[in-house]
């Protein structure tokens, strides 16, 4: 708002009031942009783990909190690391990441520290689990892999890209990392073995979360198509166009529906959780169908809102 017109000050203080309102609005927009970033993702991750906890029928634990904190840490760090590149697609969030980069990184580091402390309290399996998203992020977004590639092979001969820059593998890596965290966290933090729940149930829920997460990652790419193309980041919309991407993602949603049906067929998953997951899937299908008609800000949060719907349904059903 650098070009915002300044009015002359009047004795009744009109200009000051106007400025104050504008400042407040700007501050609110900033808070909203921040909240729609890493904190929103953290809440969604926590709800996902809570729904998975219900679906698996394992005791409640600190898993949702720990995974939420890890999600906040990883996404906040990612937003800070890629702030300049995100300036075109998510300008408000990028502005906050650039301006408060140090504070965000401190918050992210402390979040991850608390998550690891919670995991240490829960035992070795939980500790190993919370290390997965951090390790994946290092390979996914940092320059650690390219640097390692340069060390192992002479520069120029073989160049190892960031995982974030590899077509489909980027979305698949994120989807798998979150599927591991969401499904394994309730088991690890609850101290429950896979056999106690039933391996087919765990596998089907894992597959369901993985394919759903894949859709959640690719749908916002419809919004980022111009910025990603400019940075040579290959995503489904960049490579196949928006129309074909929508059809592919609807197909993936259909696969998720099939996995949900199979999960229900095992008979071990709790019924309220299945209903909640089905409600979430319905929202996801609707968002995917409207992918090219929703505005950028909505598209950024809409896919993840399906989990909030699922969580609300779960609470409504008395979990």
């Amino acid at each position: 708002m650098a070009n915002e017109p300044t009015r002359p000050s009047t004795p009744d203080g009109t200009a000051e009031q106007q400025r104050s309102i504008l400042t407040t609005r700007r501050a609110l927009r900033g808070v909203a942009a921040f909240a729609a970033g890493a904190p929103f993702t953290a809440v969604v991750a926590a709800v996902e783990v809570a729904v998975a906890t219900a679906a698996l029928g394992v005791p409640r634990s600190t898993a949702p909190v720990a995974v939420g904190l890890v999600a906040f840490a990883v996404y906040a760090a990612d937003h800070v690391a890629d702030a300049e590149g995100d300036a075109a697609s998510t300008p408000s969030r990028a502005r906050i990441a650039l301006r408060y980069g140090d504070q965000l990184m401190t918050a992210a580091a402390v979040s991850y520290g608390v998550a690891v402390a919670l995991a240490v309290r829960a035992g070795p399996a939980a500790l190993a689990l919370v290390c997965v998203p951090g390790a994946v992020w290092i390979g996914y977004a940092s320059d650690w892999l390219p640097t390692l590639g340069d060390v192992l092979a002479p520069p120029g001969e073989v160049s190892v890209p960031r995982l974030k820059d590899v077509f489909l593998l980027n979305s698949a890596a994120v989807a798998l990392a979150w599927a591991v965290a969401v499904v394994a966290a309730p088991l690890a933090f609850g101290g429950v073995a896979v056999d106690a729940v039933g391996a087919p149930t765990v596998a089907l829920l894992f597959a369901y979360v993985a394919v759903r997460s894949f859709v959640d990652v690719e749908v916002p790419n419809v919004r980022d198509v111009a910025a990603d193309a400019a940075r040579d980041v290959a995503t489904l919309p960049v490579v196949y166009g928006v129309g074909r991407t929508r059809r592919v993602l609807l197909g993936v949603d259909a696969l998720a529906a099939g996995l949900l049906a199979a999960l229900a067929g095992t008979g071990t998953a709790s019924r309220p959780a299945l209903v909640a997951l089905a409600a979430g899937l319905a929202v996801s299908v609707a968002v995917t169908a409207l992918a090219d008609r929703l505005d950028g800000a909505t598209l950024g949060v809409a896919p993840d809102c399906s989990y909030l719907v699922a969580g609300t349904v779960l609470l409504a059903l008395g979990w």
């Binding site: 990184m105 401190t106 402390v110 991850y112 520290g113 690891v116 402390a117 309290r121 070795p124």
Partner: protein, 570 residues
Amino acid sequence: MAALAPLSVALLVAVTIGLAAAILAWRERPEPGATWLAVLLAGQVWWATFLVFELEAATLPAKALWYDVQWVGVVAIPVGWLFFALSYTGYHRYVTRFSVALVSVIPVATVAVAAAGDPGDLLAVDRVVRETAVGTFLDIAPGPLYYVIAGYTYLLGAVGSVPLLQLIRDDARPFRGQSAALLIGTAAPWAGSVAYLTGAIPVPGLDPTPIVFAVSGVTYLFALSRFRLLTLAPAPRRRARQLVFEQLHDPVFVVGAEDLLVDLNESASETFGIDRRAAIGERAGAIVPRYDAVRELDGERGSPRPMSIVGRDGQRPYEVTIRDVVDDHDRTTAKVIAFHDVGAYLGQQQRLNVLNRVFRHDVRTETNLILGYAERLRADATDERALAIIEESAGRMLELSERTRTAGELFDPTEEAKSGALPDVVDEVVADARDLDPDARIETGRVPDVTVSSVLRVVLENLCSNAVRHNDTETSWVRIDAAVADGWVEVTVADDGPGIDPAEYDVLDRGTETPLRHGSGIGLWIVKWGVDHLGGRISFAEREPRGTTVTVSVPIDESVTGKPSSDEGR
């Protein structure tokens, strides 16, 4: 899950803070020390994490397993600390793959022994579970390797603290703060370790070291945020100071109290052609140019005066400054001798003085002469002598003007340096001299085919024209000879004229003119400036029975590549 032991809660706090600090440190890569600080903090987090597992484990084997896993973190801490301290304070050259591998030998061996199940009870001769009021510990009776790694840890810790302790006394407040925070952060776990090893902890089996990591984490976090630990590291200062010394344009020598050469910079090595490795440790008198004269300057402590020194670029005048290196107890431990090339400055000063004299004295004299004889012409328009004197005087002024222009062009910094073959230069000079006096006998000896600066042409041209112009014999005689030795070319111009007044040499030698003592004209000055410009030397000698021999020695121009610069002496 059962309620945690109070100690586990403290350790979880240490894990949280330590991991946060480790992530923030890792983020600051490649700032000096960032990676190693992250290693240090990761080691602390590792140790604290698996100590929680050990505390929470119910059986002796389970506790023993987590105890052994802790060794990875335990041994990473001193290695991380040492290399962090070295990198952070600017001692990068000690952080090499070899040094890291060497320092890591004992830590890696310790982890290997722990991983192998402690064969031969090297780490612990006995392990028992102790129930105490603050938790259930694995109490161990240390084995020999335990004491080795403990001592090694203390050694690395002490070595790493030395450069940080130096920073405590630093002038810059941020570095003092950083250093203090780091030392507190490291001293706290050490204090815990010492208390454990000396049996000062009342709870048997309780090693408080990892618990105190919470203190370390807080101080490191404080140092990272408040004192900008890694974003404002002192490491570049050390390198920058070294660079200033190394890259300084002036040659600099450092001579120790025993007159032995301690150091010299690249400029000294290049300018005076000194092999740096061989020179350090030698007696200063054998290495430092004109060291005896330099020592006299040091004794006098007077205003510096220029002294001529022959270096790689020929003979140049240098002004020498000497500074004492004083230690913390005000004792002089060395002297820094800096040579500042004042050739350009002196040359400029001389030219201004001479041109000033030319205008004040020579031009004025000639003008007065012209005005006087012009008056006589007014009285008697047929006075041929007056007319001839006016013409001669005007001619001298024209010549003076031409030579002044030559002097200006000779030292024009915008002019590109030119060079040519010496035989061509000599031929041109001889041709010019014959134009002046077609009857003159001008001989040339053997002239080697070397490349010389075009400035030498101006020098020789002035010498030859002087020899021809001022010759009082019927047929003037001039001979030019040249020889090459050790990268220098020596050109001799001999004549049978009346000789040069010694007062002229004296003025040239002193380099300055006074109203009473000055040269005549500007020709000899152009010769001197040209020779100085080339870093050469000039000498005058009387010939028998009459005449003068002027010898000019200048370095061969080696800037021209692809052409042999000499056919002799190489």
